[in-house]
């Protein structure tokens, strides 16, 4: 690890507990590089996670951190951010955590457009409990709870976030590390609810059941099956079938929840509301 990045980690909590080949470390690496790039004050930055593989990240990071209950990271983050708008609040969550048990909180945090940055580690599976299907498990894939092939349709997190009211939405992968750093930095800088879907390989629980090869093979899949927003915009729809679009997918300026609440306070206390 680069010496200058060590201050963002609780070095005595490392090494991490993730499996060999897991992409989660790359996402966390991208996060700290984004924080470093932006020069965020670590004392004014809080990391809130849910439960699952990705959510163990909070313990490794040297900030004020909360490892909450399954699916509830966004509820803690909403309370913290509303109480303390002076803090940068970053939520780390997995695909199951964010969109199954936490699905309701996800859409409502997006609807409020509260200034949180949510990074969804999408590994298409419940890793920590050993490979059960999640709302992001692709149809026909195998999971320990879909041994004959999955018959449900997955969510598209980015579409879900956008439709629910998020004002910044992006998707990256652990293969495209430098781009992922920039997307996370943009998401943190954005005022409002921002979501970055980070596609991360789970060779042990997802890859093995679906015969996707080892970790490098899964990274290669990320390289070969993704297309940038810019390149995608030049292609007709039929040529985009099966491709995953990465990059900044959506951005708008919209009233942010804690700022709007401050206006209410200013109004009722006789301030000018500006």
């Amino acid at each position: 690890m680069k010496e200058t990045l060590k201050k963002y980690f609780r070095m005595n909590r490392l090494p991490h507990i993730w499996c060999p080949g897991c992409g989660n470390g790359i996402v966390v690496g991208a996060l700290v590089r984004a924080i470093d790039k932006l020069g965020l004050n670590p004392d004014k930055t809080s990391i809130i996670s849910g439960i699952g593989c990705s959510s163990r990240s909070s313990g490794y990071l040297n900030f004020d951190t909360v490892h909450t209950a399954h699916g509830r990271a966004l509820t803690f983050a909403t309370g913290l951010k509303l109480a303390r708008p002076d803090l940068n609040v970053i939520v780390l969550t997995g695909d199951g955590d964010a969109t199954a048990i936490g699905g309701n909180h996800f859409i409502h945090a997006a609807r409020r457009n509260i200034d949180l940055t949510t990074i969804v580690f999408n590994n298409n599976i419940y890793g920590m409990t050993g490979g059960q299907y999640s709302p992001l498990t692709p149809t026909h894939s195998k999971a320990t709870t879909s041994p004959y092939g999955h018959i449900e349709n997955p969510f598209d997190i980015t579409e879900l976030a956008r439709a629910s009211g998020a004002s910044y939405v992006a998707r990256g992968t652990t293969y495209h590390t430098w781009e992922l750093i920039n997307l996370i930095a943009d998401a943190i800088s954005h005022k409002g609810f921002s979501v970055v879907e980070a596609i991360t390989a789970c060779p042990i629980s997802f890859g093995r059941q679906n015969k996707l090869g080892n970790a490098p093979a899964m990274m290669k899949w990320q390289k070969e099956n993704t297309i940038s927003v810019k390149a995608a915009s030049k292609l007709p729809a039929e040529q985009l079938a099966g491709k995953v679009v990465i990059g900044e997918l959506y951005r708008r300026q919209a009233p942010e929840y804690t700022a709007e609440y401050q206006k209410v306070i200013d109004r009722v206390t006789g301030g000018n509301g500006q």
Binding site: D43, I48, G59, H67, A69, R72, L80, A83, Y261, V264
Partner: protein, 372 residues
């Protein structure tokens, strides 16, 4: 100058929270607690506080946990079904030692039960609703005035012991209008202790209570719902697990002198003692007066702090009675606790579960039957 008003218990509870320094409320509307949310939605911004109506009760609990970690005094208010949903994070707040207050204005149950009718059937849910062994404080007001004063105590106890405090109201106390006198003197306010330099975040002080640094001040503090050691980080150690679970109970049990609250009426010369709490205690009070008019020496022991259960107090106060009456509006939840202390032969339950207010006459009749 003191201020006098005619308000509901729910209103008094909200005003008590404000007086105690509560500056954050997250909740989800549910009868018969809704007025607490409505009043705080109006009042909190006036004092720079924050109100948010969350998408459900689970989210409400998460939000007050987050706000409390941010250094705010935070509460929520709900009723039985919402209280059930909150239980997961009430356990989280117990283990992570996050101070907050959960108001439960009880309704008839089980399930959605009887939304607008009185009941006291969440006494055991307040104690054991969340998974795992944990200590808990629960306070029960009997009047509008007490809803105000006791709410200040609830917030103070949460901060003092770094624990969730359950404020166990009932529909009668919540919706009844009575005179509330807000004293002109500023109430005593307890604030959570910050750690000394070098003090570990979950290292208990001599009273068993650790210090809690707020987020945003450079402590880089880790909070988890996993069993953790004094550093705040998870451990699988059986020794640490046992020590932590025991401490969560003992930090309350060993400080009962600060938590225990009760009231007595004519108990000194009584031949018959009624134990009651909340709205039922008001009927019991009237039953005592009616009995005395008939020349029957009845007395009342009114429980105000109900968890940790005041077993020593009950043992001491009831030693000289042949029979003790427990009046409550459930199937015998406190009766069972009193029975644990006094034994079955000594305890006479006076119960009501049809969602109608327990009457003074019902209690008086039970005493009279026993006397004959």
């Amino acid at each position: 100058m003191s201020q006098t008003m005619l308000v509901q218990g729910n209103h008094a509870c909200a005003l008590g929270a404000l007086a105690a320094g509560v500056r954050f409320f997250a909740g989800y509307p549910i009868t018969p607690s809704t007025e607490i949310a409505e009043i705080l939605a109006k009042e909190l911004p006036k004092v720079g506080g924050k109100f948010i109506q969350m998408e459900d009760e689970i989210a409400s609990m998460g939000a007050i946990c987050g706000a409390s970690l941010g250094g705010f005094k935070a509460i929520t208010a709900t009723s039985g079904p919402g209280f059930s949903l909150m239980q997961e994070l009430i356990g989280y707040a117990s283990l992570a030692e996050i101070p907050l207050v959960i108001v439960n204005v009880q309704r008839g149950g089980p399930s959605t039960g009887q939304p607008t009718s009185p009941s006291q059937s969440d006494v055991m849910q307040a104690r054991w609703g969340s998974h795992g062994d944990r200590g808990v404080i629960a306070l029960v007001p009997s009047s509008v005035q007490e809803s105000y004063q006791l709410m200040i105590d609830a917030v103070n106890l949460a901060e003092r012991f770094r624990t969730p405090v359950i404020f166990l109201m009932d529909e009668v106390v919540g919706h009844m209008r009575e005179k509330l006198v807000i004293p002109k003197t500023t109430p005593t306010i307890i604030n959570r202790r910050k750690p000394e330099p070098g003090e570990l975040p979950y290292a208990p002080g001599p009273d068993g209570v650790p210090a809690l640094p707020p987020f945003g001040e450079g402590y880089h503090f880790h909070v988890t719902g996993l069993i953790h050691d004094e550093t705040g980080f998870p451990t699988g150690s059986p020794e640490v697990t046992e020590k932590t679970i025991k401490r969560l109970h003992q930090k309350l049990e060993n400080n009962m002198d600060e938590i225990l609250r009760y009231d007595e009426l004519h108990s000194a010369d009584a031949e018959y003692l009624i134990i009651s709490y909340g709205c039922s205690a008001r009927s019991a009070e009237e039953a005592v007066r009616m009995a005395r008019e008939k020349g029957i020496k009845a007395g009342l022991l009114r429980l105000i702090s109900i968890w940790p259960f005041p077993s020593d107090l009950i043992e001491e106060k009831c030693a000289r009675f042949k029979k003790v009456f427990v009046a409550e509006m459930n199937y015998g939840q406190v009766t069972g606790e009193v029975t644990k202390v006094l034994g079955r032969s000594k305890v006479q339950p006076v119960l009501r579960v049809d969602t109608q207010m327990i009457t003074p006459r019902q209690i008086l009749e039970a005493i009279t039957r026993e006397g004959n």
